[in-house]
């Protein structure tokens, strides 16, 4: 299951999508909106997504995770739109026969999602706004 949604994520549905009688573990990662960044109060976040590519990239990450670990199920749901501190932005669930594989695969999926999947967030502060990670740095690499 891969879902990009503007509505609050139903965490239980993401977990249920990975259910398997052969599973001895279901590992769940829940990403939430933090109320501070760079020492400033975050009022809200705006998430934007290139949906067709985001779904394709998430699928590749899940396929790679299934190659590396013996998984029984995996599901990713990512929220887009306006989110306030405390709200859930992403839920990842992974089921496997043993817990170690479920932990490792779940961490691989969230870590890779954060560097590959075309989703962007803008932090809105009381006195301004900023796209996260976008701004200058002298290093540049395209391949």
């Amino acid at each position: 299951m891969i879902k990009i949604t503007e509505k609050p994520i139903d965490i239980q549905k993401v977990i249920d999508a990975t259910s398997s009688l052969g599973a001895g573990a279901v590992n769940v990662f829940i990403g939430t909106v933090r109320n501070t960044a760079h020492g400033k109060n975050v009022v809200w976040l705006e998430y934007e997504c290139y949906e067709s590519m985001a779904v394709a990239e998430i699928r590749k990450i899940m396929d790679e995770a299934s190659h590396r670990w013996p998984l029984l199920g995996a599901a990713v749901s990512h929220r887009v739109g306006t989110l306030k501190p405390g709200e859930v932005s992403v839920v990842i669930a992974v089921s496997a026969p043993h817990r170690k594989d479920s932990f490792e695969a779940c961490q691989y999926i969230i870590d890779t999602l954060k560097v590959k999947v075309p989703i962007w967030k803008k932090e809105i502060f009381e006195d301004g706004e900023e796209w996260i990670s976008a701004q200058p740095n002298m290093e540049r690499s395209y391949n």
Partner: protein
């Protein structure tokens, strides 16, 4: 040929629009397209990175563009 380029995140703010149309020659590479965009929108050069996606996949600089390709600008991502 005319290429429609989608822009997301900070690149959308810099272009001032969700899509822009550019005239490029058939067989133009991704690197050449990026250089044209840098010339037309100099603020794009200040980004930490700017990948180009063709038909919903990350494209290498040597990728040749063809008529009908869906092209998108991918500034540094920050999902999760």
């Amino acid at each position: 040929m005319k290429c429609t380029i989608k822009a997301f995140g900070i690149s959308r703010d810099i272009l001032g629009q969700r899509e822009t149309i550019m005239e490029v020659s058939e067989g133009c590479t991704v690197a050449e397209l990026r250089a044209m965009l840098f010339h037309r929108f100099p603020r794009l050069q200040g980004l930490r990175s700017l990948f180009v996606a063709v038909n919903s996949e990350y494209a290498n600089d040597t990728r040749l563009l063809a008529a009908g390709d869906e092209i998108a600008l991918i500034p540094p991502v920050s999902g999760g």
